[in-house]
Symmetry: C2
Subunit: 194 residues, 2 copies
DNA sequence: CGTCTATTTGAATGTACTCAAAAGCGGTGG
DNA sequence: CCACCGCTTTTGAGTACATTCAAATAGACG
């Protein structure tokens, strides 16, 4: 098998260059997993021990609050990284649940192996610095949209910006990402069409 | 002057250890600036060339949209880093304006010097990885709050979590951080008291 | 085919905004 | 030191946005 054909190494190559032995080494630390649709890889309240790279398929991370209200924090499709960052990096109880939206294959890297990797190949500090920097930029932009735009604008913006996600999810899940009820989103859509 | 007494080096020491020569080197790349209250260090539309560390005082980063609506993205008080991340890291036009809330002293590090620093002392990749990781975690938590909590809950949460910020800002600025009108926040406060 | 969940529709209620005006407060100049 | 100015905060009325609850319809899946 030619490792550099693996999607994850193309993903990493966007930011840093690895030599063969480093590729082999990272590969040895990761584990490829198949997930069935609706399979959970993390439950709210548990400590998240892994960071995941989505090879094929799609996942969703969401929170359920004390009133049972479900809020989607992020979706991850092929070529995206996903974890419950706060739980994973600080090794504390997760406020998120992560579930497969469809049959998927993912690569997982556990906390201890990541720490080892960062020490052995400091280039990965750079890789994750850029990864988190971009995640921060996206999240900050989402915050700006949340506090400055109407729900309709945010809806239009979401389906335009993430068509690859939209085709995998339900309208109810979009509502839970926008922070509105499914009933309201439904009504909003039908008004917009007219 | 004993550099390690500088707040910024205590800040950095939370995540990485530096030897004297490294401290000297970083210090040589940074510039200490005094700001008057209401002085701007970045205007929306311009490229942000610097990342700032707040030594004393406080700053605010905000966006003004096409309708003139002002939205506060972040506040930074003593011991915080602040920049228009998207603009700074991708060297593109900023969607944010950054202004001093009071007379302040800040340290600035410009884009080219940061790149040099990251190459010369790779430990800083680790430092900024952790810094951005924490920024991402905070921003993700803010998103969750925005989409799952009531305005009143978010208001109470904000004043409880950031008392050091609250004492420096106006109620109008809190409203622009929460994404509601000052009139509404005022009414909400008075209801809550009763 | 039957079951479960998602989506739609509608009525009633609550949340938040707009606009306008009054009151409060801080800073500045005379 | 006081008077004025500009901005913030408050208050209120009217309107728009969003939720809740309930019920009907539509789709997905075994």
């Amino acid at each position: 098998m030619i490792l550099t054909d693996q999607l994850i190494f193309k993903n990493i190559a966007k930011h840093i260059s690895l030599i063969d032995s480093e590729i082999q080494y990272l590969w040895s630390l990761m584990k490829k997993i198949s997930l069935d649709k609706k399979e959970y890889i993390l439950s709210q309240g548990k400590i998240c021990n892994k960071i995941y790279f989505v090879d094929q398929g799609s996942l969703r991370a969401y929170n359920v609050n004390e009133n049972g209200k479900e809020s989607t924090i992020m979706f991850a499709v092929s070529d995206w990284w996903i974890t419950a960052m706060d739980s994973f990096m600080n090794q504390k109880a997760s406020s998120l649940t992560i579930v497969a939206l469809e049959n998927s294959t993912i690569l997982e890297l556990d906390y201890d192996n990541l720490q080892t990797l960062l020490l052995k190949i400091p280039k990965f500090e750079r890789f994750f610095r850029i990864l988190f920097q971009n995640a921060y930029i996206r999240e900050q932009r989402r915050t700006l949209h949340n506090i400055s735009m109407s729900t309709e604008e945010r809806y239009v913006q979401f389906i335009k910006k993430y068509p690859a996600i939209v085709e995998k999810i339900t309208q109810k899940q979009i509502a839970s990402y926008l922070g509105v009820t499914p009933e309201f989103l439904s009504a909003l859509k039908n008004n917009a069409d007219s």
